[in-house]
Structure formats: C-alpha cells, structure tokens
Amino acid sequence: MTAISLSTTDLALAALLILAMAGCSVLLQLHVGRKIIISATRLIIQLTLVGMVLKAVFEQNHFIWVGFIAMVMLLVAGWEMRARQKYKLAGWWGYGIGTLSIFISSFAVSAYGLICIIGADPWYEPRYAIPVLGMLLGNTMNGIALTVDRLTSAVWQQRSIIEQRLMLGQDSKTAIRAIARDSLRNGMIPIINAMAAAGIVSLPGMMTGQILAGAPPVEAVKYQIVIWLMIASGAGFGMMAALHFTAKRLFDERHRLRLDRIRATPG
C-alpha cells in the first residue's frame, strides 16, 4: 500500500485555494495578501529544491552527502537560533554556544536513535537519518532559543538582584540559579505540552505522514513515540548545555556579572 501520487494539476488546485484566500484579503483590505503569496511561493520553491536534493542524496546513499546536508542544517539552525534572541552574547560566542549545544544534543541523540533503536543499514541511511535529524534539530533549536533568550533577557532585567546576591557573598552559580531554572522551564514547556496533548488534541505530523503513506497506524505510533522521546531528551540536553555555557560566559572568574558581554538588539 503506497500513497496516491499527486499530479501537477493537484498542486495547482491547492495553489488555487491560497490564491482565493489572498484575493479575499485584498478585497477586505486586510493587507496580508502580499505576505501570504510571498511566503507560499517561498514554501513551494524551498520544498521543491529540498525534494530534489533529497532525491539525489537518497540515490547516492553516501555518508559524505548525509554529513554535508547535516552540517548545513546545523549551521542554519545555529544562525536562526541567534537571530531570535533579543539580548545576545557579543561576538561569536552566542552563535558558537548555540550551535555547539544544538550539535551535542541533536547529533548525539540522532546517532543513538539511528544505531540503537531504528537499526537502519547502514545506520546513516539518508531515508532515516535526515528526517530524524531534521525533527531533532528543529525542536532542539526552538527549545534552546527559548531558554537562552529567557536567560539573557532575565539577567539583563534583573541585574540589580544578581549583583545584590553577589555583594552578599553568593557565588555566580547561586546568584543565577533561580533565573536558570526558570529559563529551562520556559524552553521545555512547548515540548511538555506537545507530548501531553499528542493524539488527543493534535495528531503529530510525522505519524500522520506515515499513515497517509500507507503505514499501519500502530507502526506509525511506535515511530512517533520514539521520535518524541528523542526530541524531549535531546532538547533537554541541548538546553542544559546552552544554559551552562551561556551562564558561564555571563560571569568571569572573579564572579562578576559581565553585562558588557551582552548586546541588546534594537526593537
């Protein structure tokens, strides 16, 4: 059992839908029509390109290619993460710490899942490796971005409290503990919510995709469970690493709060 193949006409029919919606927005002067058309066009071009790249990579089935794609995904994720923060570590630190944390968590957990759980042959078989890594990268990136953003903005806003704690002789770890805890919670909430609501409020995308492609529901569910457990733990590890490195960078060896190492983005 395989999925019904979509023809060009089918795609055109879907495009008709978005054009109709954009047309409505113009008529009602809602000023979103242009944006919707642009982003829909981006979606079509980007996904078509990705489809072609993936087709080529799947045919090659070579470690170098998988590794190359993985590196590109990682670097973009790191960049994207930094771009979302209002208060950033100055210089290359923010990018470096974010990318390193994403790398440690999503690559290690993906490799563990591919080798020990899924057991594809070879373990880097692109049909498994790229989607798994993609899902982990996406969620880890979101989680780390939320966590670090909360940490740096809270430190910026509560600097007088942190310095007061330091003045009373607390070390930097103690002075920042409450904020770090709160930041980790902030990053974990979307993942906790998604896991708790999975199957009841929403059908997870990957499971839905597999069912559409003809997989038995129970098989699809098993994959989805494995993926979510990997995402939750990978994102958690990534957030802890990012918190640790960022908090370390916010203080120096004399336990001074170094706000001069943060840059506030205007707006």
């Binding site: 310095e163 007061q164 003045m167």
Partner: protein, 199 residues
C-alpha cells in the same frame, strides 16, 4: 578584624586610589553625583573589572575567591535589591535584639517586600548585610532616602557594630556634614581623583 588597604585601585580613566582604613576606623568619601564614588566602592568589592589590588591585613584579594572577599568586605548599594516575597526569607534568622536596634520587631520577618517604604528597605538591607559579620563595610549613600529618625538609627547601628566588632568603614555620602559627624577623616572625589579634605 582587619585593616583594609587599597593599592592603586584604578577604574575607567580615574587616577589610581591608594588608601588605608584601619580596623575600627571610619573614612568618609564625598563628591558630586557622577564623580565616581560608587564606582570606587564597586571596584573595592570586585564587582567590575579594574586594575590594582586590595588587602585585608596582609591577605591579597586575589588570594581568596571573590565570594569570600565580598562576605568580608561587604558593599551596601544605594538601592538594595530584594528577590523573595517576604523579608524573613532574605535572612538566616536573627535574634530579636538585632531587629529592635533598627526599630523593627520579630514580626518584620513576615512583612512582604512590596509593602516596605524606601527607608525600611534600606535599614533592612543594612541589617541583612551585617548578618554576614563583615570585616569592612562599604556604605554607598546608606541614608540618602531616610528621614532624620531613620538616619540616626542607621548611624547608631553602624557605630554599634563597629565598636562591638572593630570593623572598618568606608562611608560614601554627598552630605559632607554627615561625614564630618560620623567619620574620623573625610575625602573628596573630584576631577577623577580622591583627595583628603583639609580641615
């Protein structure tokens, strides 16, 4: 208790400050706002990067971890910060006589921070700092927001702490007459340098 000695403490482009406050001694520093009085205290407490070294008797600041130094050489900022809901959570547990010395009672521990007046906050911040039994007090405008009665209580508590423990005090205030009243020696921060005032 120990003597605080500053050896060429230098922050931003101010002239280096060398100074000695003996155990039990009190030096007042005055100057206009923006003259660098607070920056000097922050540098002594090692809160900002700067040059120079400070000593407690013969022990260099570098030779001990920064949190240890800050417990011994405690800074009271002009606006102290609070982070828990109630007053008591910020303290390790004080006996009643300490509360009373500043015009509070044991029930003060249950007060919520948002209910405190500026003056109460400042007096409680002083109490919180003294609880750690520091050897040197760096006081940054400790009575700037207080009425006469509260000011007298703060001055009395600092004197009492000093006579009973022999702590050294560096008192920063824009009010020169207060410093003349409370300190043995008054200095002025002006033109990026610290100078003794000739009396």
């Amino acid at each position: 208790m120990s003597t605080l000695r500053l050896d060429s403490i230098r922050f931003l482009d101010w002239e280096p400050v060398s100074l000695e406050v003996e155990a039990g001694g009190k030096i007042g520093i005055t100057g206009t706002s923006g003259s660098g009085k607070s920056l000097l205290l922050r540098a002594i407490a090692d809160l900002d990067p700067h040059e120079g070294e400070a000593y407690l008797d013969d022990r260099a600041r570098q030779s001990m971890p920064a949190p240890d130094w800050r417990r011994r050489v405690a800074l009271l900022p002009s606006e102290a910060a609070w982070w828990y809901e109630t007053v008591g959570e910020h303290f390790g547990g004080l006996d009643a006589s300490c509360w009373e010395a500043l015009g509070f009672g044991p029930e003060t521990a249950k007060w919520t921070i948002s209910r405190l007046s500026a003056g109460e906050r400042q007096r409680l911040a002083l109490l919180r700092m003294l609880e750690g039994q520091p050897e040197v007090l760096l006081l940054d405008e400790p009575t700037a927001n207080l009425d006469v009665d509260s000011t007298n209580r703060v001055e009395a508590l600092v004197s009492h702490y000093q006579t009973s423990t022999g702590a050294a005090v560096l008192w920063v205030s824009h009010d020169e007459s207060q410093l003349r009243r409370t300190s043995e020696k008054v200095m002025r921060m002006e033109g990026r340098r610290l100078e003794a005032i000739q009396v």
